[in-house]
């Protein structure tokens, strides 16, 4: 799993039926010191995360489908937690 910041929302009317009703967020993966890491990607969200929030994302298909509650959904990333705090002993 990775830490990421929600940076936007995506609206798509025409999509695979397993996405119906699912919220799509644009999330930017972060390093441990909160800098952007790689390219922003799309993740489904079943928790109600909002823009600017720090989230925990899962980056594997079956796990993302489980998060969405839909087996065999063609998804590869999902928000599984909204991060309150990360405690580090060394940066």
């Amino acid at each position: 799993m990775q830490l990421a910041r929600v940076v936007g929302t995506v609206v798509a009317t025409q999509k695979h039926r397993t996405f119906e009703g699912a919220k799509l967020l644009l999330v930017q993966p972060l390093t441990l010191d909160d800098r952007p890491r790689g390219t922003a990607l799309l993740a489904v969200d079943a928790l109600g995360a909002g823009v600017h929030e720090k989230v925990l994302i899962v980056l594997e298909g079956r796990a993302a489908g489980d998060a969405l509650g839909r087996r065999l959904a063609p998804v590869d990333a999902a928000v599984v937690g909204i991060v309150d705090r990360v405690d580090l002993v060394e940066a």
């Binding site: 799993m1 990775q2 830490l3 390093t31 441990l32 079943a46 928790l47 109600g48 925990l56 899962v58 980056l59 594997e60 298909g61 079956r62 796990a63 993302a64 489980d66 998060a67 999902a78 599984v80 937690g81 909204i82 991060v83 309150d84 705090r85 990360v86 405690d87 580090l88 002993v89 060394e90």
Partner: protein, 91 residues
């Protein structure tokens, strides 16, 4: 599977209900010589690992084969606490 050192914890009050009873740890991936390679991941803990320990992490769909993780939306799980890594000279 990869070797990593646990460097912190993630606190997330709102998260997928299947993750409620699990500890989420921040781990820095490392080479067999114990040197951090600059990357990190968040993994669910299934062996009661603690900060500072060297651990074995299974990632991808196999993470759900870790104890208690069946059908949980995770893509990385700590499945062992490493006592020592022995590397042949020259490798």
């Amino acid at each position: 599977m990869i070797l990593a050192r646990v460097v912190g914890t993630v606190v997330a009050t709102r998260k997928d209900p299947r993750l409620v009873s699990n500890k989420l740890l921040v781990a820095r991936t490392m080479d067999p010589h114990g040197k951090a390679d600059g990357s990190y991941l968040v993994a669910v803990d299934t062996v009661d690992a603690g900060v500072g320990e060297t651990v074995l992490i299974v990632s991808g769909s196999s993470a759900r084969m870790a104890a208690g993780m069946k059908d949980c939306p995770v893509d990385a799980a700590i499945v062992g606490i490493v006592d020592a890594v022995e590397v042949a000279a020259g490798d």
